[in-house]
């Protein structure tokens, strides 16, 4: 589904990603773990075209997408949940979702009502301006917004940040359900419990390079690996 090959990304003059390569096969959940500032978000942004990589190639469904404008990448079927939420503060919750809607994917397509079913809390505040929402509500909205584009690959950058435990729990179930329906997910998470429970495959990134990758079993079960790469 997604192949990232030897990607180098810069912010201005500072070199952030040093040859990151990773792969997300169709229908799997792949997580990227790493400490603060390791480069997880930058990887996501590079895929999304928000910080186009200077070197390396990114392939989505076999086609090279490096250098495309973000809106093109999104239209190809990649949904993005940024770590800093970035809801459209001036629009109401409903409008936020509405403008993101992109009909695709047949009967299972995400629609406004399905998103509200998924996050009942959002349904209740449909008319409220997004800028006024609580942290958790904004997070839900961001996820809902990404779903409305009906993606085939979902980039989730810390989706559980600020969510109450019960909501996290529900979200976890839903992500798993989405995967079962064929969606591919690339997940960056600080909540390692969630990440380890959900994923099929894991990468550990540090200082802009991939330090470890393998099946999630290893990470989950191998205390040494966890201590070594995740510093816990």
């Amino acid at each position: 589904m997604l192949e990232v090959e030897d990607v180098h990304t810069y912010y201005g003059l500072s070199h952030i990603l040093f040859g990151v390569s990773l792969e997300a096969p169709a229908g799997e959940i792949v997580c990227i773990l790493g400490r603060n500032g390791a480069g997880k978000s930058t990887t996501m942004k590079s895929i999304m075209g928000l910080t186009p990589p200077r070197r390396g190639t990114i392939r989505f469904k076999g086609a090279v997408i490096t250098g495309l404008k973000p809106y093109r990448i999104s239209r190809l079927g990649i949904g993005y949940v940024p770590d800093d939420r970035r809801v459209f503060a001036d629009l109401t919750v409903g409008e936020n979702l509405e403008i993101s809607e992109r009909a695709r994917g047949g009967e299972h397509a995400w629609t406004l009502s399905r998103v509200y079913e998924f996050f009942p809390a959002l349904g209740r505040i449909d008319g409220r301006r997004a800028g006024f929402l609580s942290g958790g509500e904004q997070q839900m909205l961001t996820i809902g917004r990404a779903l409305m584009t009906n993606p085939e690959l979902l980039l989730l950058d810390e989706p559980t940040e600020g969510l109450a435990p019960m909501v996290v729990h529900l979200l976890e179930e839903q992500i798993a359900a989405l995967r079962d329906r064929g969606l591919t997910v690339l997940l960056a998470e600080q909540n390692q419990k969630v990440a380890l429970r959900l994923s099929d495959r894991g990468y550990v990134i540090d200082n802009g390079s991939i330090r470890y990758h393998g099946s999630i079993q290893d990470l989950r079960e191998n205390e040494d690996v966890r201590r070594k790469y995740l510093l816990v």
Binding site: S14, R35, D83, G136, P165, Q190
Partner: protein, 244 residues
């Protein structure tokens, strides 16, 4: 030290906080928990003057502080670290904290002396404490999300508050930073006698460091009590803790 009595705030008829009560004693670590949208952030903003309460009283050190402007509240000794990152984007990490330190030292109106002479040690100490010392010269806008959260707290500390309010301090922090933060919170209360009021969705953390916990739902304060008491409360179980 801080008493909040039947505090109410509504937005266009929607009661975000309704009749909330809270008390915080000196030296305590108090946690506020509750589902998303329960009104925790609103409560904190009411206390720190970023919002004006419709009704109710906020008493700090025996004096009413309701309706004061944020900078006045801050000068009384309450600092807030925001849930949504809110730092000085174009300035360096060092300057971010230094501004708070200068403000605390009442030096912000010095016109003719170099800022390189004021508040240096204090700032460095704080940065050392939170683990940002090696990033001191970075422009804060270029920090990663997690580091910005750390900086958020560092700025709040720059004011040497008596009461530090942390709105989801560890959200977005890696486990490593989280543990640094927990250590720091413990140290601050122990060594400096700082009082801490915070909210968090990470229940492990809440139950491991809070002396007392207040639970909010739909803007109301359900109960306030010791962790054990809260954990066993059925209503809380149903409303919030759910699976955990």
């Amino acid at each position: 030290m801080l008493q909040v009595e039947s505090l109410t705030k509504s937005f266009d008829g929607f009661l975000a906080v309704s009749g909330a009560n809270l008390s915080v004693e000196r030296g305590e670590i108090v946690a506020v928990i509750g589902p998303n949208g329960a009104g925790k952030t609103t409560l904190f903003k009411l206390i720190t003057g970023h919002l004006r309460p419709d009704e109710g009283r906020i008493i700090f050190e025996g004096q009413s502080i309701s309706g004061l402007r944020p900078y006045e509240v801050c000068r009384r000794g309450i600092s807030l670290s925001f849930q949504v990152v809110n730092v000085f984007n174009r300035m360096t990490v060092f300057e971010n904290v230094q501004v708070a330190v200068l403000s605390h030292q009442k030096k912000t109106r010095k016109l003719f002396s170099s800022s390189g002479r004021h508040g240096i040690e204090e700032t460095e100490e704080i940065l050392g404490n939170v683990g940002l010392a090696d990033k001191a010269r970075r422009v804060s806008g270029s920090l990663s999300h997690g580091d910005q959260k750390v900086l958020e707290m560092a700025i709040a500390l720059g004011n040497r508050p008596d009461l530090l309010i942390l709105d989801e301090p560890t959200a977005g922090m890696s486990p490593e930073e989280t543990s640094v933060t927990i250590d720091l919170i413990h140290r601050l209360t122990r060594e400096l006698g700082l009082t801490i009021l915070f909210c968090e969705h990470d229940m492990e953390l809440v139950f491991s460091i809070a002396h007392r916990i207040m639970v909010m739902q739909y803007g109301r304060s359900l109960i306030q009590g010791a962790p054990q008491e809260v954990r066993s409360n059925e209503e809380v179980q149903a409303a919030y803790l759910g699976g955990t």
